[in-house]
């Protein structure tokens, strides 16, 4: 089922948690709401579920106005960050809960419920644990029970709030792959909230980046990584460093010296040039975009990272280099950028990536 979110607003006291958010969620897709804490991502998710009442705007489930419906009527599967399993119920009863609370006309027979619960336990790979209490399960297992419980009601949309937030790194990775698999098998429209960009990029079909209640960009992981729409997305997703430059007729210059870069489609005036470390290459000083001095050098996993001080203001650019690169601290080097972007200093809109 398609979800349409139109100009959604929510204020907590003075500051807006959602500042007029518009988002279309396509049927069957897995979409991530990504942002730092306080960005409004959880408020958006809870508003879709009906656990939060927005102050303005619209939420459409298909063509139906979801805001006219109570939480119970929306038929959403919600997986909570802390799992929120019913602690006094066994795993079986947790998963069966959503079916047992239905009114008599829609409630399946106990045998049917049993069949369904065991089937779900099989899906989440927990067969045989139906008699355990939540306290007797590991974090990853609880997470799976929470998902099975949400799936039991055959939800129109599946909502997950930081689904892997409380798990350690190894389990996270495993569950991430597994959730993608479940999604592909069941085909639910799925929205999940995360502050972990790696998780969002790896797992989602599309990523919606939020910042201070504003939707910054929606796109495939490739889009948001390669073509960030705002300086915030540039800085938040992946690594980047930025230089203060001046734009004059599309030409970027640093300290009054024009840089050998393609012209930017940006207005004249102060701006910031953003570069990702892996887009920086070292070359001889002749014909380089910029020259600078190596001031830091360190090993980082399979790569070597270099801090290069450029320009009169000693701004630093970080470069991700192959481990065998032959430079030393104090060397003067030339830099070239395989990709860069310029945002005017008012930091609102992207003009063009070179």
């Amino acid at each position: 089922m398609d979800l349409k979110i139109r100009n959604l607003r929510k204020d907590y006291g003075r500051f807006p948690a959602l500042n007029g958010v518009n988002l279309d969620i396509r049927s069957g897709e897995l979409i991530a709401l990504l942002g730092p804490s306080g960005s409004g991502k959880t408020t958006l998710l809870r508003s879709i579920a009906g656990l939060e009442i927005p102050d303005g705007g619209q939420i459409l489930f298909g063509d139906e106005d979801a805001l006219q419906k109570s939480v119970q009527e929306r038929n959403v599967g919600f997986v909570f960050q802390s799992y929120a399993l019913f602690r006094h119920m066994k795993v079986f009863d947790n998963i069966a809960f959503g079916l047992r609370v239905r009114d008599r006309a829609r409630r399946p027979a106990e045998g049917e419920i049993r069949r369904k619960v065991l089937e779900l336990l099989d899906l989440v790979q927990l067969s045989g644990l139906e008699g355990r209490y939540p306290a007797q399960l590991s974090g990853g297992q609880r997470q799976r029970v929470a998902l099975a419980r949400a799936l039991a009601i055959e939800p129109q949309v599946l909502l997950l709030d930081e689904p892997f937030g409380a798990l350690d790194a190894q389990v996270r990775k495993e569950l991430r792959r597994w959730l993608r698999q479940i999604h592909d098998e069941t085909g639910h429209t799925t929205v999940f909230v995360t502050h972990d960009q790696e998780e969002a990029m790896e797992l989602a079909d599309r990523v919606a980046v939020l910042h201070k209640g504003d939707l910054q960009q929606v796109g495939t992981p490739d889009d948001v990584y390669d073509l960030p729409a705002t300086p915030f997305v540039y800085a938040f997703i992946g690594e980047s460093t930025s230089l203060p430059v001046t734009i004059s007729r599309g030409q970027a210059s640093l300290d009054g010296r024009p840089l050998a870069l393609d012209r930017f489609d940006a207005p004249d005036g102060p701006a910031r040039l953003h570069i990702r470390p892996q887009d920086v290459t070292i070359q001889s000083e002749d014909g380089a975009v910029l020259t600078g001095a190596v001031v830091g050098l360190r090993r980082s996993g399979p790569y070597r990272r270099a801090d290069i001080s450029v320009g009169a203001g000693h701004a630093r650019i970080e470069a991700l280099l192959p481990p065998d690169v032959e430079i030393a601290i104090g060397d003067r080097v030339g830099l070239a950028f395989s990709r860069s972007a310029v945002f005017p200093e008012d930091e609102k809109v992207l003009r063009k990536a070179a």
Partner: protein, 284 residues
Amino acid sequence: MRAEVIADPTSESRLARFAIILLSVAFLAFFLILPLGAVFVEALRKGLETYFESFSDPDTISAIELTVLVAAIAVPLNVVFGLAASWAIAKFDFRGKSFFVTLIDLPFSVSPVVSGLCYVVLFGAQGYFGPWLAAHDLQIIFALPGIVLATVFVTFPFVARELIPLMQEQGTSEEEAALSLGAGGFRTFWSVTLPNVRWALLYGVLLCNARAMGEFGAVSVVSGHLRGLTNTVPLQVEILYNDYNFVAAFAVASVLAGLGLVTLAIKSGLEWRYGDEMSSAHRR
């Protein structure tokens, strides 16, 4: 390196520890165990037969019946009020919440005599509602309703005090989960909220019951001390004692003391067995 015994920095010397333990044990023995033991000793001074004879007095029997009746009304009322109050405090945000929390503790801080007097002022023959009540042939003061009211007031905090911290700790996410799974409000309360607090609730009920049966001050003001009619067990103990009927006074008192001990035993058992399902205050 010299093998030197270094004193544990967080521990006192043996002598100091011994002195502190001895002091507290002596204090407990003198102020708690000795008087409590004395009650039973005095009650049994003239043998078991006299002890049991004390309970054949019709006034005593009616006092016991009245006390049980009052507790049977007051405790369920306070279970309902306590659940409602702690639900409201733990699960919702509203203006004046902290004032409300303070108010719940009021019966702890106000002398029971004062609370008894409040009811006399309100419902007594010369009280605000006195004439109206008299006109409608309703008696509250010097009758069962007054005793129940006073008891409810005095024992109000017990259930709520046990539930509030636990409910706050548990948060609202299980309730939200139940709602999102389609459960209605009552169903959510009945099958999620209530089972999660059941042991703390039982604990609160026990304390509430012990206090309801043992309350003296507030009940003394509103009861009127009518023998065989409005005397509860604690009031009966006082009357027997003032009549120099010491054995009977202590015999009846021993029932109250026994009730206290049983409550304590069940309470400790609950803490030991279900401590993790009760609020963090009871975790050992």
